[in-house]
Amino acid sequence: MKRLFSGVINGLAEIWGHKLRSLLTISCVMLGVASMVVTTGFMEGFFGTWEASLQEAGGLEKISGVPQSLSERQAPFAPVSKGFTLADARALTELVPTIAVLSPEIDAESSRLTRKGRRFVGRAQGVTNGIFEINRYEVAEGRMFSDLDMNDHADVIIIGSEVTKNCFQPGENPLGQFLDYNGRPFLIIGVLKHYERLYGTYNTLNWKNDVAFIPITTMASKVQRSDQLSWINMKSEDLSRLRETVDAAANVLAQQHRGLIDFKVKTNEESLASYASTKASFVVGGSAIAGVSLLVSGIGIMNLMLASINERVREIGIRKAIGATPFNIFSQFVAEAVTLSLLGGAAGVGVAVAMIQGLGAVLPPGSAPMLAPSAFWVGFAFSVTAGVLAGIYPAVQAAKLDPIEALRYE
């Protein structure tokens, strides 16, 4: 302990003794650490947001049946292909017991919602209560749909926070009020939770806020005037039975569609796989940047240490002559290198914080890096590693010096 402490003190004294030279080396490490921290910040922010989006889009147990054009062989039957219907949804519920929740959806992409001269273009969907569980929506105020709403094709609507924001005065309670959709007043029975995950100042979950849900029966009979579904989402009872459920659902749908494969049954595994492969390539790229920065910092430190040892041959000889073991000398120089790189590391983290804040103000929201707390540890670990690695070789050289040769050195 006493040696480690005196090693650091001694290191600081040496650094102070060669201000310009040390400053250049510290700058080397500083740039290396700063680029590391900013890169890590970019990656952390980017992947954290992506991962949260994946979760919010339904997670792994989610299965989707989506329409798909017929294969070339089946193409002549195209006129017979009707796509998904409510009958398909019923068949799936009856015949595939491992489907825990089912959500047939009719998506009326950009739909105009108006009220007292205010209007909002959002995304109206005809749904069942299944959507709340599968796509992770939560009714914050009011209620979900009742069986009566479904059976009566009732004109009721559940709206997201963006709809509220755009069609109502601040502070006004939308529950119990009417909102016009497709020229028909709908009674607001529920308001969804506000979803938010900021990436910089950009809310990456805003797509969950600009929706408006009406009963699927209402959408089919009064708005779309056909019961063709946009897609069917399902949730497997258990992750271990995911494959089984996918196969069963595909069979039932093939049966329903008289063998026409005008659909595809897919899971989130694919988007997860693309998430994983993108992340892997970023990690490789990030590691390459880290490696180069480490190398640059290391070269800077090693260069300084070698120069310093060359100048201090006599000092090394004196220390050895009065009882320093080779290990004492070795640790003295490693401690110096680490002190140097820690100073650079601290400066680097400082620069990175300033850079991230600066970039956050200049770059468009959504592409600015985030300051992940792990970045500080990365910076710290990085500079210690650079210091130790770059210090070892010069320190070994110093420890090997023959005391009498060193003392004779002029």
Binding site: A321, G323, P326
Partner: protein
Amino acid sequence: MNSVREVLRLDRVGKRYPMGDTIVDALVDASFTLNEGEAVAILGPSGSGKSTLMHLLGFLDSPTSGEVIFEGRPVAALTERQRARIRAEKIGFVFQAFNLLPRLSVRANVALPLAYNSAPPADAEARVDRALELVGMTHRAHHKPGELSGGQRQRVAIARALVNEPRILLADEPTGNLDTKTAAAILDLFQELNRLGRTIIVVTHSPEIAARFKRQIHVLDGRVTEGSA
């Protein structure tokens, strides 16, 4: 006869420097024994091999022939680490060229051996104070060596050699830069340490100084002979 313990022994030690085509024999067939508690003066003209001999005795250098034996063990068989430990614990060395570290203060220079010594850090301060006091350099403790006179630097070098309270003191011309009065004080100090049982080996040019020691070793052209001043 009371029992004497052998500390250092040279057995036909030679040191030869290759100098291009010629060779310099700095030391030839040197053999003698130093016992615990002895006080020895080493005499000889400039270039005769005194410093070479001292370096071998402090195992800073290794002989080209023969053996140096420390407390019965051949030094050549010790690892560098073991040699360093012995230097740190048992030997104090005063260099002819002082060899102070220019960037450290007088105090830090004197304290240096304690960093490599097993002495408890608690009394480090007290030991440094005492060593500085012994050579009368307390008032310059916070100066750098560059701000001192030759004699003052020499005294700091002596304080550094004494700080770890070594059993063996090897001093290469420790009074060369001192006036007669200061030199006498330092020699009194050495004699006092010797009276307390320390082994003292001092290189000197001066027969008067050599006469104050019980034993004299003469070096002439690398050859060692016992003799009186």
